[in-house]
């Protein structure tokens, strides 16, 4: 018991110009999750048409091995696995940011139209323009544009989250209607790739994808962690926030910008994967406790684990190869239900 009590203690990290309170239990969980994630990545790389051992994978990663192994490990498998992990992180972090800013547990980045905006542009791109080369860029622009429209339409003396939810529902339903219209108006063989895209999939990732997505995550993460503190105060209401001297609209805009960038970059490279952004933040809170910078990081790693696990399962262990978004729901849901059950019976 004493050891657990020590773990749940918080320590304050302080230097002359910086101080941050650290929850040891959350830190332990983060370390554990990172260890699991690394093992999972190595294991995932061993799977596939070419059989490799973990040792071979480890050596090839650092440039040691024959040409074929190097090609398989460094050019084919690593990019896909890294993309899955980074996108899982981006989704989970942006989900948590949006849920805390909207103070609504049912909110995901799609509240400001990220997925629906990206989807309508990507579907039009695939069905009408029939071009796959610039697809991520098109989807990204669709996401950002829709988000900007929703933010501007909700602006009236500040963008209140409640108003944003409603405007978001409205705009999202229109973009979804256009998507549906495209899908019923064109012949089946033309819409099929678009349907697959809308389920959320990672395939043919290159190092370029990895670099772009991880750059966005790495740049956003420090800001996101720092913003968690004012966000905690904001959960007490707008008036309390203002009287604490927190610049309300600036914080809100900052959170929205970061959350948007993270969600938009993931939908651009992997399509709309709904489950992670909505559910992983809940899972992280159920495991690690109330939201804080540490829990945000934990939720990111959890997102990476879940997306990688889903992608591996989708690719290697099912009779048909399915898009990762389909499997994410299927494996994430039972675990989530277990957590829900556990937290319910505890209360």
């Amino acid at each position: 018991m004493t050891s657990f009590r020590q773990l749940s203690e918080t320590r304050t990290f302080r230097t002359s110009w910086f101080s941050h309170r650290i929850n040891l239990k959350v830190m332990m969980l983060i370390a554990l999750a990172i260890a699991i994630l690394i093992l999972l990545m190595l294991w995932a790389i061993t799977l596939g048409a070419v059989d490799l051992s973990i040792r071979e994978v480890w050596n090839a990663t650092w440039g040691d091995g024959d040409r074929k192994t190097l090609l398989v490990v460094r050019t084919l498998r690593w990019p896909r696995i890294a993309t899955a992990v980074v996108i899982g992180m981006a989704l989970a972090i942006s989900g948590m940011l949006f849920q805390s800013i909207a103070r609504n547990p049912l909110v995901s980045p799609d509240i400001i139209g990220i997925n629906s905006g990206a989807t309508v542009v990507a579907v039009a791109w695939l069905v009408i323009v029939r071009n796959t080369s610039q697809l991520p860029l098109a989807a990204f622009l669709g996401a950002i544009l829709t988000a900007a429209i929703i933010y501007l339409l909700s602006w009236r003396n500040g963008a209140s989250p409640d108003r944003m939810i409603l405007v978001g529902i409205g705009v999202a339903s229109m973009t979804q209607a256009v998507t549906a219209l495209i899908l019923v108006r064109f012949p089946l063989e033309q819409i099929r790739p678009a349907v697959v895209w809308t389920m959320g999939s990672i395939y043919g990732s290159t190092w370029r994808d990895v670099v772009i997505t991880s750059l966005v995550v790495l740049v956003s993460l420090p800001f996101a962690i720092l913003l968690m503190q004012p966000l905690r105060a904001m959960s007490l209401g707008d008036n309390v926030t203002r009287s604490l001297g927190i610049p309300l609209e600036m914080t809100r805009l900052g959170v929205i910008l970061i959350g948007c960038a993270l969600a938009a970059v993931s939908v651009a490279f992997a399509g709309p994967i709904g489950f992670v952004a909505l559910m992983v933040p809940h899972m992280a809170r159920m495991i690690a406790g109330p939201q804080s910078g540490g829990v945000l990081v934990f939720s990111g790693i959890l997102g990476g684990i879940i997306l990688l696990l889903s992608d591996t399962l989708a690719l290697h262990f099912l009779p048909v190869v399915l898009p990762v978004g389909v499997v994410t729901g299927a494996i994430g849901a039972p675990y989530f239900l277990f957590l829900l059950y556990r937290s319910n019976s505890r209360m």
Partner: protein, 353 residues
């Protein structure tokens, strides 16, 4: 929600409004006008469509039917059924959405949150995939059980443990269940092109090509559930004060929630079975109505019924007229009719939820 309250308190305090007797009269007249409007819009739905029909012929088709007239047969056999269906389903979904938002006290609360739409889609897709069924009349028999089973499972999961099914637990369990069923549905769609071809038309939401027998099979569910929902106004008013206050006033909140969720599931399940998942009516109508009639659910509910009915019938008519000779599915038009409303309302005032 907290910020809505905060924003209100910053404005100059509004004078306390009493509810005079004349207000009740006014609301009642408003309701009658709205009902009349909905009926008028339904008549428009008979008059306009891909085949040009004169007003006289449309009138005759309903009241003095002549079997030999081609135009009258079209009106009688195709437009009358879909108009009736659109009217009741629009009204029913709107009422269901209102009840759901009242019970969950969440502006995002809509019937699909309990896994109803996902369950129905799951049922329809599986049946198409396994048994090769292909008409809306057959879909009904798989959509409805799918919706019912899914929501019972959601409710049971959310009820585990002490405290029972709180709105947030219900919603989360529903979302998770939806994604689980959605995964299965997507997998089937990827495996069979034929299934995808049928499901893509069903899942947009449409009342085209439904004959009245489809409606009559579902009416024993839709009508009583709608009426029962309309009577829940008082309970929803009490619930809207918050869980603790409602309990302090002696309300068995768990029972109210269970009954209303059950009604919503029956109503939505039956509607989705007939017309496919038309989500937007249930989501948007309560917000539109609330901004007009205020926070009293005893008025919101009947207003919602007629607003939803009018919206869906109009959307269906518009969909037939703008893309002659083909048509645009009502689910698509609905979004374009309802969304601007919703956005304008959201911008106009602080939204009560």
């Amino acid at each position: 929600m907290a910020s809505a309250v905060a924003a209100q308190s910053e404005q100059t305090p509004a004078p306390v409004r009493r509810a005079p007797k004349s207000r009740t009269a006014l609301m009642f007249i408003g309701l009658l006008v709205l009902a009349g409007l909905a009926a008028l819009l339904s008549l428009f739905s008979l008059r306009f469509g891909s085949l040009p029909v004169t007003t006289r012929e449309a009138w005759d088709a309903v009241f003095r039917y002549n079997v030999d007239s081609y135009e009258q047969t079209i009106v009688r056999e195709m437009r009358v059924p879909r108009t009736i269906i659109a009217f009741f389903i629009g009204g029913g979904l709107a009422v269901a959405g209102t009840v759901m938002q009242g019970v969950t006290r969440n502006p995002l609360g809509d019937p699909s949150i309990l896994g109803v739409s996902a369950g129905a889609s799951f049922g329809v897709t599986t049946a198409i995939f396994l048994f090769g069924i292909s008409t809306p009349a057959q879909f009904v028999w798989f959509a409805f059980p799918g919706a019912a089973v899914a929501s019972v499972v959601v409710y049971s999961i959310a009820s585990v443990g002490r405290g029972g099914p709180t709105p947030v637990r219900l919603a989360l369990a529903g979302v998770v269940m939806s994604s689980l069923l959605g995964a299965w549905t997507s997998a089937l769609l990827l495996m069979s092109e034929q299934t995808l071809d049928l499901v893509r038309f069903w899942s947009v939401g449409s009342v085209a090509g439904r004959n009245l027998s489809v409606l009559w099979t579902m009416m024993p569910f839709i009508l009583p559930a709608t009426l029962a929902c309309l009577l829940m106004g008082h309970q929803l008013n009490v619930l809207s004060m918050g869980e603790e206050s409602a309990r302090a006033l002696g309300m068995n909140t768990q029972r109210v929630r269970m009954i209303s969720s059950g009604l919503v599931v029956i109503l939505t399940g039956a509607s989705v079975a007939v017309a496919g998942p038309i989500g937007f009516v249930g989501l948007a109508t309560p917000h539109i109505v609330r901004s007009i009639v205020g926070a009293d659910y005893r008025w919101i509910l009947p207003y919602s019924f007629f607003t939803g009915a009018a919206l869906l019938t109009t959307a269906d008519t518009v969909g037939r007229v703008i893309a002659r000779p083909s048509e645009i599915q009502v689910g698509v038009v609905m979004a374009f009719v309802g969304a601007p409303f919703l956005i304008a309302l959201a911008r106009r005032r602080t939204v009560a939820s």
